[in-house]
């Protein structure tokens, strides 16, 4: 009895195959007729499902072979039906009416934008992260000690004139650079260290096309046992090429900052005139973009690092300056007044 069931089912499979072949011959070139064929064979209550239900009654020894045959039939039918569906004539299907006017606009979708300062900070972070720099942040309001004294900028030193400062109280200031955070981190952590500090800084300067009372800075610090000026050059040249492109050159020239010794200023070849001399680079062919140098041993002494053992380099750059050069923005105030005609350009 059981044996006979398997034979019966095998015969049934052959029968159905033949039936399906004749059905496909007579089917018309329409979605509906193919779909009704699909329901007849593959539907939940269709022929194939019926055969699978019968398979449950077949003895376990034969079930696997018969099951395989049945699956094969199902695949054959599925293939044929899919091929019929994909070749069916497309005009037959009821389509929604679409206007032929290609100039009708699509639905309005609001598109937002990151601020160019943020875009620039993210870019700077990305580049320095790729060579092992962490990212840290610090307070905008700080004491004079962290903003000046610890950075080898004592009270009554002419170098303080380099940074006009806003005071909140007698010895609390709006930070003039994010270097205050270098001190905070070094006070809390032991070297080696390598990080950048993005953030907002303030200078007591009248607002104009070229200067604003606040701007954003990214400073970097690397402290280790052997650190050289040559490495500082290598790092910053890597940054410049990544940020401005391979065809931009960097030049380093000596400068003075109380917190670095030796100190340098880095210029890039003018991206406007390609070094030929224009009004932006004041005919010099170079644009000043950042200050840097080897950490002055006096700074290490302030934070309790042994300046004989530890060396380091530091650098600082203005984000607005970078963004103005990169996006060719000619008025720094545009960053801060929130004109959406400006912001929309950075979507």
């Amino acid at each position: 009895m059981v044996f006979r069931l398997a034979v019966t089912l095998t015969n049934k499979i052959t029968e159905i195959r033949t039936l399906f072949q004749s059905d496909t011959k007579s089917v018309s070139d329409s979605i509906d007729s193919i779909n009704s064929l699909k329901t007849k064979y593959l539907g939940r209550k269709g022929i194939i499902s019926g055969l699978f239900r019968q398979l449950r009654d077949v003895a376990s020894g034969d079930r696997s072979i018969t099951g395989k045959e049945l699956n094969k039939l199902k695949e054959e039918i599925t293939d044929v039906l899919q091929s019929l569906l994909s070749h069916v004539s497309r005009t037959d299907i009821q389509q929604p009416q679409i206007s032929k006017d290609i100039h009708l606009p699509g639905d309005y979708i609001r598109v937002g934008s990151l601020h160019p300062i943020e875009k620039t900070i993210q870019e700077v972070k990305r580049i320095f992260s790729s060579i092992g720099f962490s990212v840290v942040y610090g307070p905008e309001i700080d004491d004079e000690y962290h903003n000046f004294e610890a950075l080898n900028l004592p009270k009554h030193h002419p170098a303080r004139d380099m940074q006009d400062t806003f005071y909140v109280s007698k010895d609390v200031v709006l930070r003039t650079h994010t270097s205050n955070t270098q001190i905070h981190v070094m006070e809390e952590q032991e070297p080696p260290l390598r990080f950048i500090i993005p953030g907002r800084v303030y200078r007591n300067e009248a607002i104009s096309v070229r200067s604003y009372c606040l701007f954003h800075q990214v400073e970097g610090l690397y402290v280790n046992e052997h650190v050289s000026f040559a490495e500082l050059k290598g790092t910053l040249e890597y940054f410049v090429r990544n940020f401005f492109g391979d065809d931009v050159n960097a030049r380093f020239r000596p400068s003075f900052f109380p917190f670095t010794e030796p100190s340098a200023e880095m210029d890039i070849s003018c991206i406007f005139c390609r070094g030929g001399g224009c009004s932006t680079c004041k005919k010099t062919g170079w644009l000043e973009i950042l200050g840097c140098g080897m950490v002055d041993p006096a700074v290490f002494e302030k934070v309790g690092y042994d300046p004989i053992k530890w060396k380091g380099y530091a650098f600082g750059m203005g984000i607005e300056r970078l963004a103005m050069l990169k996006y060719r923005i000619d008025d720094i105030r545009l960053f801060f007044n929130g004109d959406v005609r400006f912001l929309r350009q950075f979507t």
Binding site: V136, Q189, F252, F256
Partner: protein, 679 residues
């Protein structure tokens, strides 16, 4: 500082054109521009180089940077008078810390005339007006050698005496520009036997000025403490050629050369005779500073191989005397270079003269350091990206604002600046809404009415517990106003309203995956007339939003309704940094049902959905209110609410029968507790 190329040539051979000279100086650390006419240079000096405030100093730089040599300089002074200087003047220093050295010479029987034209021309090239031969010569020596000198009319110095003392508090003194100054104990005064005659290191007095009647001249050449001069000049808001040099550190040894040079030129061009000897009070000689320069250290820090011959040539070129001991250079700090105190300072000189451009970049980046610090703002970038993807523009606004404006957002604890740029920027922002509203107002005035903007930044308040007396909090706030979209051909325009704002907050909760977040009404808010607060499942504030008081908007001339929100970043960061775990998808089909109730108008939708959710339990995957109706079809004082319920189980197929049981329980419970009637 402006220098004359002609004048420089008296100290060093210059064969290159001015532009090239400017490049050489710029690459040597002195940013230089060629001025029109190409006979003068404008050099931006760094505050550490007082030696470069003179033609001789700049010439030394040019010589060492070009490998040339500085021409020798000496003063050939004829003390033609038989009289001794010390018979005519005595010097007493009462403030030796503030004035470590004071030297003077006297030139008698001078003729006050105009200066020879080569002197006036050189001074004019440097931007100085010619006055008379005596004043011009002291200025000439200042620009030549960099040491400030002062000349007095000797006949007006009473009792033949110079006394250097600190000023009394509120002591008055009139400088030679006619200005009356009130002094304090930070100021140093040069006095004669009776009265003050000069504000030391800053400006001379009107009472002893050299005039057309002067016949005998007293020349002062002194060294004043830099901090004293700096404080004094700052207190009077006065910066002079003299004070600039003294506050950077003058040359306490070189001052004698300057004095002799000045006396010699005065004698030569005024017909006067120089008295014998210098009265020089220098009670405590400055010690000689020896600095050991290790070649290996220099090579290690700069990362380039300096040769011995380069080092020696550079030290010589900079007038640094040295001897070698075991391969180290024992250097004597030149008295005109206060910046060369330590080994690192001399290493900088080596690198500077070698040329930064010649140092080969090293790109060995040194791999991973042990303590990589996590970027705490990374999650904030994600949040910014979320708002950008919702169509918001990020803005960055001024964190300084008007005090009365700030008070609209925070009644007290506002952080005030002591020295603001203007009243418009006198305090630190207590809220980001001030800047955002300004932005809205700015754009409305320009016809931009449909706005969705946000800002991330610090807000500030006073705080007794912090060291600086202030606290900073990082916030994210935003505003929406106008229409969701401009007029479209397809259909009506929808205005942003309160529920648009809430929709963004719902989306924020989804983005944060902050399950169990609840909305509560805000009561008595300072800036929102009506609003809601989002509480996380542990009761922390995630965000709040609302519609602003119209009175607040009128500060910014905004007449249209605008809606604002603030996200509490510290509390939201918890959800952003929570590890994301995948939830299995159910393979069993779900069942959807609708329920429509009529309830009293006072009963909130929340009360109904609370019961539905409770009874629905785990398998109620979604509950959506999709109709709210008040009007003719329902009784007065009632409303109809319609929900769609979607049930699904992750382990089995649900049956219609069991869902029916749940719905019946919901209906009877809402009827009993809320008097809700099935519609």
């Amino acid at each position: 500082m402006i220098v004359s190329i002609d004048w420089l040539k008296t100290f060093v051979d210059i064969t290159v054109p001015p532009e090239e000279l400017a490049d050489i100086l710029t690459n040597g650390g002195h940013e230089t521009d060629v001025l029109s006419g190409r006979t003068t240079l404008d050099i931006e000096l760094t505050p550490n180089r007082p030696d470069c405030t003179s033609h001789r100093g700049i010439a030394r730089e040019i010589a060492v940077l070009t490998g040339g040599s500085l021409k020798p300089f000496s003063v050939d002074l004829q003390e033609s008078s038989k009289e001794l200087t010390s018979n005519f003047i005595s010097i007493e220093i009462d403030a030796p810390r503030e004035c470590p050295r004071y030297a003077a010479r006297i030139v008698r029987n001078v003729n006050i005339t105009s200066s020879p034209s080569w002197i006036t021309k050189r001074l004019e090239a440097c931007g100085l007006r010619s006055i008379n031969n005596i004043v011009d010569i002291s200025n000439y020596v200042l620009f030549e050698l960099g040491h400030p000198l002062h000349t007095f009319d000797l006949s007006l110095i009473e009792r033949n005496k110079i006394v250097v003392r600190t000023a009394e508090d509120r002591e008055n003194f009139q400088t030679l520009d006619g200005e009356e100054h009130q002094l304090n104990s930070n100021h140093l005064l040069i006095c004669d036997g009776i009265k003050p005659v000069a504000l030391a290191g800053i400006m001379g007095g009107a009472n002893t000025e050299v005039t057309i009647e002067t016949t005998d001249v007293l020349i002062e050449s002194a060294y004043f403490d830099p901090v004293t001069i700096r404080k004094g000049a700052k207190a009077l808001n006065l910066s002079t050629e003299a004070s600039k040099r003294f506050e950077r550190g003058a040359d306490y040894e070189g001052l004698i050369t300057a004095l002799d040079r000045c006396a010699s030129l005065i004698a030569e061009f005024s017909g006067g005779e120089v008295l014998k000897g210098i009265v020089d009070v220098y009670p405590q000689k400055f010690p000689v500073n020896k600095v050991t320069l290790r070649k290996r250290e220099a090579i290690s820090i700069i990362g380039t191989d300096f040769s011995d011959s380069f080092i020696e040539k550079t030290l010589n070129g900079l007038d640094i005397k040295f001897s070698t001991v075991n391969g180290d250079y024992i250097c004597t700090q030149p008295t005109f270079r206060p910046d060369l105190e330590r080994e690192i300072d001399i290493i900088e000189e080596l690198a500077r003269i070698y040329g930064y451009g010649e140092i080969k970049p090293d790109v060995s980046y040194h791999g991973i350091l042990g303590n990589n610090l996590e970027d705490e703002e990374n999650p904030i970038s994600q949040l910014k990206q979320f708002f950008v993807s919702q169509g918001f523009h990020e803005v960055v606004s001024n964190s300084l604002l008007n005090e009365s404006e700030a008070k609209a957002f925070a009644i007290d604890d506002i952080v005030t600046l002591q020295n603001p740029l203007s009243q418009e920027m006198a305090v630190m922002r207590p809220s980001l809404f001030a800047g955002l509203m300004k932005t809205i107002s700015y754009n409305l005035r320009r016809g931009e009415r449909d706005l969705t903007i946000f800002e991330v930044g610090n807000t500030f308040s006073k705080s007794i517990s912090s060291l600086t007396g202030t606290a900073e909090e990082l916030e994210l706030s935003g505003i929406i106003c106008g229409n969701k979209s401009p007029k479209e051909w397809k259909g009506p325009v929808y205005e942003f309203d309160y529920f648009s704002m809430k929709g963004y907050m719902d989306a924020l909760v989804l983005f944060l995956k902050a399950e169990g977040t609840q909305f509560r009404q805000i009561k008595d808010h300072q800036i929102f007339s009506s609003g809601q607060i989002l509480l996380s499942n542990d009761g922390k504030v995630l965000a709040y939003f609302g519609v602003f008081f119209q009175s607040l908007l009128s500060i910014y001339d905004i007449t249209t309704a605008i809606y604002g929100f603030t996200v509490n970043l510290p509390n939201v960061l918890y959800w952003l940094s929570k590890p994301l775990l995948f939830q299995h998808l159910s393979i069993y089909p779900g069942i959807a049902r609708d329920l429509s109730f009529v309830i009293d108008d006072e009963i909130s939708v929340g009360e109904v959905s609370k019961i539905v959710n409770k009874i629905g339990g785990q398998i109620l995957k979604q509950l959506t209110l999709y109709d709210l109706y008040k009007g003719d079809q329902v009784e007065k004082g009632k409303k109809s609410v319609t929900f769609n319920l979607f049930f699904q189980d992750s382990k089995r197929t649900l049956t219609d029968e069991e869902i029916d049981v749940i719905l019946e329980t919901i209906i009877s419970k809402t009827s009993k507790e809320l008097n809700a009637k099935l519609r």
